[in-house]
Point group: C2
Chain length 559, copies 2
């Protein structure tokens, strides 16, 4: 890129993911022959990406500039920041991955399933400075919904580039506090460009403190007469600690259900993020013999995920836990956009099967977001006093609002850059400009294959999901120019052919009529013409008869 896009004294700032979306965060800072990557996340797709498991960034630019990559730095351990690491390492040589504390533990667990990949994983501490030829990297603690979340400062000859990572300011946090003083020092030192978390820029509130959540949970645990069934994000180790404290206080033992929850609690206990008296967590989750008000059931499923523990408990299909009168379910979480419907279904089932349900509301602070609202974003801007500003981590409307907040706090309007993935901002002492665009796109991961699912395949899946498929197989003897088998009509997801004998006969007759037109002595058999004709004829007939548009798939067997 250097030669084409950036001048020799310019620092390039761009994202391969994370702009215009919440997910697959991957930000890059490039200066001459050095490139630093911050985060390597994935995105969980919405229902429009039929059957796709994850979306990751297109790594082409990194592959082509492999020799410049100095290191990957991880700010915190959420999947939208670390989930892409195995895919990245499969395709790109990264000399070293730096992470801290819990993030390090979570990456280790994740990479156990990818022992074939070469990974040089190093720990950083807040006070470390990691120096490269022209660039240096240092850190400042932030507060977020997972322990050990760090902002990253990249020192360049042109000035400091600061990346906040995901953050909120909690004046009475659970776990580590934000390092206000280090942020203030960085601000005094001077920030050329700030990249800051935009998720909650539309919120006029200051995020509820975890202390309030902690107290609410304790009060609820005291009041609830029977079993507490509580669900939260598996990675929210702070919340788990609050649940542990409330359980200890109210003499409840905890049974944990759900694989990701078990795994994260395991890591959290080992690394000391979760502190619980011996015996608090029930061995083999055996709750038999305990009184109902001595039981906490901690489980996954706060997003209504179809296979998660809470969803099974709600629907009565969980192997160990059946709802009983007196059960109270607490959803200690907020709906991720797109999940509201599944969550509602779970809540309906829980009520229906006799449980009482408490979800986050202005009357019950059982959850606080991990992302600061506009006042917190403005505090960050005030502390950092950046010359240039790039809102990151958010959909367009969030970036836009965040830019407005920045301008409110003193950033010049022309110095706030709302960018897309791939846009390259070139900053230097002399100025800042959008210097160009590098290749980016969504890469779909389905099963074990990366990137093989193209947009045509997604389009086909969508079409199939709408009205199903109708297939006709014609077997033709090329020499005798004859159809030699009854046309086979098969449908999936369209209608039951067996119940529609008249339609089946019509279609067979139509198929024979169409095919006959192409079986002409002395003319070369036009197979693609025949296929097109069959498709059109079938589509027209089916639309008339049923008003539906299944995908038509003609297959011609030539003998």
């Amino acid at each position: 890129m250097q030669n084409q896009i950036l001048k020799n004294n310019e620092v390039g700032i761009f994202a391969l993911g994370g702009l215009g979306e919440v997910g697959k965060n991957m930000y890059c800072v490039e200066y001459r022959d050095e490139l630093i990557i911050i985060d390597s996340g994935l995105l969980f797709p919405d229902e429009h990406l039929m059957g796709i498991d994850y979306v990751i960034p297109d790594y082409t630019y990194l592959i082509e500039n492999q020799n410049k990559i100095r290191a990957l730095f991880i700010g915190h351990g959420h999947e939208d920041h670390i989930g892409g690491i195995p895919f990245l390492l499969k395709m790109v040589r990264v000399p070293v991955v730096y992470a801290s504390g819990l993030s390090l533990g979570l990456i280790r667990v994740k990479m156990e399933e990818h022992s074939n990949l070469s990974l040089n994983l190093q720990e950083y501490h807040e006070s470390d400075v990691i120096r490269f030829k022209n660039l240096s990297v240092s850190f400042f603690r932030t507060n977020h919904s997972i322990p050990d979340s760090f902002g990253i400062k990249i020192g360049t000859p042109e000035g400091n580039i600061v990346h906040t990572g995901d953050f909120k300011f909690d004046f009475s946090p659970t776990g580590n506090d934000s390092n206000y003083h280090k942020m203030a020092r960085i601000g005094e030192e001077g920030v050329l460009c700030l990249m800051s978390d935009s998720t909650n820029s539309e919120l006029d509130d200051f995020t509820t403190s975890e202390k309030v959540v902690s107290e609410t949970i304790k009060e609820l645990f005291k009041k609830i007469p029977g079993r507490v069934i509580i669900s939260t994000f598996a990675s929210n180790v702070h919340r788990v600690q609050q649940i542990v404290e409330a359980s200890v206080l109210t003499d409840r033992k905890i049974a944990v259900f759900g694989r990701s929850m078990e795994k994260n609690i395991d890591v959290g206990l080992k690394l000391g993020y979760i502190k619980a008296p011996y015996g608090t967590f029930l061995f083999s989750r055996n709750i038999h013999g305990l009184k109902q008000n001595n039981i906490t059931i901690l489980c996954t499923g706060s997003q209504g995920e179809p296979l998660a523990a809470l969803t099974r408990i709600a629907s009565g299909t969980h192997k160990q836990i059946t709802l009983i009168p007196g059960d109270t379910v607490i959803l200690s979480s907020s709906p991720i956009p797109g999940n509201q419907e599944s969550i509602n279904k779970t809540i309906n089932l829980l009520y229906k099967n006799g449980a009482h349900v408490i979800a986050q509301s202005p009357f019950a602070d059982v959850h606080a977001s991990g992302h600061g609202g506009q006042h917190e974003q403005k505090l960050m801007l005030k502390l950092m006093k950046p010359k240039y500003f790039v809102p990151i981590h958010g959909e367009y409307r969030m970036l836009k609002r965040h830019a407005e907040h920045a301008i409110d706090t003193g950033v010049k309007p022309e110095n706030a850059f709302i960018m897309d993935n791939g846009d390259v901002l070139a900053v230097s002492k002399e100025g800042a400009r959008i210097a160009g665009k590098i290749q980016t796109s969504d890469v779909y991961v389905d099963g074990s294959a990366i990137g093989e699912v193209g947009s045509q395949v997604i389009k086909d899946r969508r079409e199939l999901s709408e009205d199903g498929l109708l297939s006709v197989v014609m077997t033709i003897n090329q020499e005798r120019l004859e159809v030699i088998c009854t046309p086979s009509i098969v449908s999936k997801g369209f209608i039951f052919m067996k119940d529609n004998v008249a339609m089946l006969r019509d279609l067979q007759e139509l198929a024979l009529n169409v095919t006959d037109k192409y079986l002409v002595q002395g003319k070369k058999l036009n197979i693609s013409g025949m296929k097109n004709d069959l498709t059109k004829t079938f589509a027209r007939y089916v639309d008339q008869k049923t008003g539906r548009q299944p995908m038509i798939m003609p297959v011609i067997m030539i003998l």
Copy 2:
């Protein structure tokens, strides 16, 4: 039913749709040989019902008891209350359909497309009493997000059954007021059983008055320097009137975009629900020559519907309207559950293409719900003083909360019945009991066919949408016991076979190997065994190679 479920002096109350869901409302009151139907709605399915256009109730009970049906009464003209009428009339003989005012107009428009159906449509007025042998039906005006919304009282020898329909109490409404006094009189007269709207039972608020919305819209229209682009539900004729008034006040002309909006405004103007000075609505929507602050663009698409006007404007694909700097978009609506994601996408695009966007928030009352919160529900309960109570129109958690509100206002806990579709409540002077259950279910409408799409078809569509389809066609000469064509492998929505020649060859070889096992001299050809074997073998191979599970569709052609 009479002989099996109800005693001779019991009134049967049940729903064919509307309980445990928001949609396809259809409630029945039955006494001896008379049956009254209230509303005939449809439900717009969520994305889990692949490709289904609508869901309607199973009308079997009505078909079987056709001779009892006296009339269908329509409370108001929303699709979840009138959308099922054409489907109902196709299958069930209904002697007369009663509707009032705007509902009548909307039903007429709807039925123009179904001129083959026999319909006896009659108008009722609030003061009417329609008498049958044992039953009589009368009405009381309520306030809702569409004009001419009525509650219905059915007088029976055992007492009054009251159905509120959808309602809120707005002390300063746009359009007709609720008839508090008639409700009070009905309450004094005595209500044996109240069926009441539960939609917003989880809301602790009193619904914002339309007067506030009206003022907010006027203030915004004054402040906005350029064009106003405003979107709302097409059926919200009150809102349209507010937009007309704000436009007239600020000297703006209105261009209307979107078929349903044009249709409803047409009906609204004709019937006098919308009053606008001549020239307010622009002929052929020609905005050329007008100054930007003289333009209101009123359009559909407040739910982010893919083909609606606002969605096209946002994405830059609308034929007539292109966004220009200074445009402000007002979403005068609330998200219907499940639509939040599409709405967010639209908002992002609007911002991205330079528009400013204002949506309903605590800081901008540009919309009010049509359903009352818990205080309004309690006011209805206080006015009606019912002995028995059935919460209707809502998901289970809403019904449950509404029942709690009823108990708070004095209904005995044992007299509040949270029911499912099909549950029959038998009420009489002597008591009330759940007497039994009649057949109900979801009937899917896809294209022009009712009910032909069964759950297997939906299952197939879902499977196809996940990983697509892989088909293998084998052509076999039965006499010679030979495969006589190269196996044809076709895939849709799985991967591009052309890019995967190695996999194609492997699959062909596997297909030949499997088939060979079945081509044994002297044994009857086991075609279904062969198909099962092909399916299993292909599934195993593909899962190993790709981690995916496409639907496998083997086709065997026998010569």
